[in-house]
Amino acid sequence: MSRQESVSTELRHAGDGVSGVIGPHVLGVWCALGLVALLVMVGSLMLGSSAYAPGEVLLALAGRGGPARDVVVELRLPRTLAAFATGGLLALAGALMQVLLRNPLADPYVLGLSGGAAAGALGAMVIGVGALFVNAAAFGGAMLAMSMVFVLARREFFYRERSAGLDAAPTLLLIGVILAAGWGALITAVLSLAPDAQLRGMIFWLVGDLNGVDSYGVPLIALAAILVAVYPRARALNVMARGDVTAAALGVSVGATRRLIYLCASLATAIAVTTAGSIGFIGLVVPHALRLQMGNDQRALLPACALAGGALLALADTLARTVLAPSQLPVGVLTALIGVPSFLMLLLNGKRRT
């Protein structure tokens, strides 16, 4: 048997028995990531100024255990769930933006959404309104930034109007990056005009911080809803990663898919940023790390991103509030401190996928 024949025989049988809806290897990865996320969250409930054993945490979650119940259920659980949901949203948004822009360097913030949110939030802080209004201003800023990109790059979102077979991604990316630069200038202006007493809060917001966050409902529901909305399009995204014309020729509605993905990625980013400020790194690194490990099949990748992003942010937040206790670090510092070395390790030592 020639080398060529043996290669093809091997490959032909590689996928046998994997027919059906979901490959078992993918389910295995999802379960493993889910388990890791669960362990991290239990750990997060155990650790803090007063530490509890796993048994005490379970008792507290069941509604018993006195003071432990108050700490675990009232304080730590909301923050842990918010961390998981925010991390999941960011990783999901990052994965979607990377495919939308066909650029592995894209992250949730590349089109200026976090810039709009930050300009809104910091502006509200300078005026001196309450936390609720700061959040509303952040969300409003993100929506404004999203609409500006959509209006300015509207041609790129409607494939039919394109006569030549050019890819939309470069123009869209350029418009987003330019707008992000504009938002950056606004943020610097607000920072330089703000009174010194407010600067610390503003820096924490910009780096990303989960201290005092207790609203986990909206981000959790958004994470589930966005995953459900994009998942049926996951295979179409695989096709679009090979280029617009190829995708259109294979029956993908390129414009409609691009609009849906942009909307979902933008909403995920806006809700994450409104919850916890602009936490960096997760949206760039989690999709990348998973892609290096499991390939670029969005059907496997998108749920994995939600789980791994959630687990990573829950872990980072646990460390942020325990390593230097009683003082807390902004979680954005920890995501980078964990993310940079582990990602470099994956990139440099990881077996190149064949």
């Binding site: 080398r3 060529q4 290669v7 093809s8 490959l11 032909r12 049988h13 590689a14 996928g15 046998d16 028995g17 994997v18 027919s19 059906g20 809806v21 979901i22 490959g23 066909r102 650029n103 592995p104 039919r160 394109r162 006569s163 030549a164 077979g165 890819d167 049926p232 295979r235 179409a236 695989n238 096709v239 990663a241 090979r242 280029g243 014309v245 190829t246 259109a248 020729a249 294979l250 029956g251 993908v252 509605s253 892609r291 390939g295 670029n296 099949d297 059907r299 190149r352 996928r353 064949t354």
Partner: protein
């Protein structure tokens, strides 16, 4: 381009010729339903293209763009399996039979040994053959290929043209491709369309379209015809 009336039937291999920028890509994209024509009607199997559902159309016609830019890693086999997209029901994943079809397509373009290579590491000609394999895996009855042999070495040029020719003769496919090699066109085409400088497109059976004078007019370059056995060779004159 103006006043073009062209009908392609099963079993025909069309070659589209013309100078750079004359509109070969635009013509083929319009015929494939991937770009709005400036006017006129394109229909497939008697139905206007606009009335086809995109996925239904993707099972009937395929289009190979001139160049593929990969942003992400994927094995060549994965890139070819992408061509099976319109054949797989929404909630199903590709299975062993899709992979077998993809491997056959790779073998047909002499690229079986590239199956497990990362597309980002392939040379231009290798990537082009993998892209052709993806179109073969899509297996539509009507195939458009925009300069499919431009980056290939002579052996693979002949191999690809030979395979496309066999598909039209033996499997009843219709193939339309653009290329710059007049002699490859003269050897393999059953029909030809050629862009003239005034915007007119002459289309029809090969021997009626590919004449010495018309080729010379189209490229604004004097060609002379040589006889080699029973074949015509067109050679640019000084």
């Amino acid at each position: 381009m103006r006043d073009l009336c062209l009908t392609a039937h099963r079993g025909e291999l069309w070659c589209v010729l013309g100078p750079n920028g004359s509109g070969k890509t635009t013509l083929m994209m319009a015929l494939a339903g991937l770009a709005e024509p400036g006017g006129g009607i394109v229909s497939l199997e008697g139905r206007a293209l606009a009335s086809w559902h995109p996925e239904e159309l993707a099972r009937a016609r395929g289009f190979l763009p001139q160049s593929i830019h990969d942003a992400f890693s994927a094995t060549a086999l994965e890139a070819v399996v992408i061509g099976r997209h319109p054949h797989i029901a929404r909630w199903r994943w590709e299975d062993g039979s899709d992979r077998a079809i993809a491997l056959e397509a790779l073998e047909a373009v002499d690229a079986a040994e590239l199956a497990s290579r990362d597309v980002l590491t392939l040379s231009g000609g290798e990537r082009q053959r993998v892209a052709i394999a993806s179109l073969l895996a899509q297996d539509p009855g009507l195939m458009f290929l925009d300069e499919p042999v431009s980056h290939l070495d002579p052996r693979h040029q002949v191999q690809v043209m030979h395979h496309l020719n066999a598909l039209t003769r033996n499997a009843g496919k219709t193939v339309m491709l653009s290329l710059h090699d007049v002699n490859l066109a003269a050897r393999y085409a059953s029909h030809a369309a050629i862009f003239l400088p005034d915007g007119q497109v002459v289309a029809g059976p090969r021997d009626q379209v590919l004449t010495e004078e018309r080729i010379s007019t189209a490229y604004q370059q004097k060609f002379i015809r040589l006889k080699l056995g029973d074949r015509d060779l067109f050679v640019p004159a000084e």
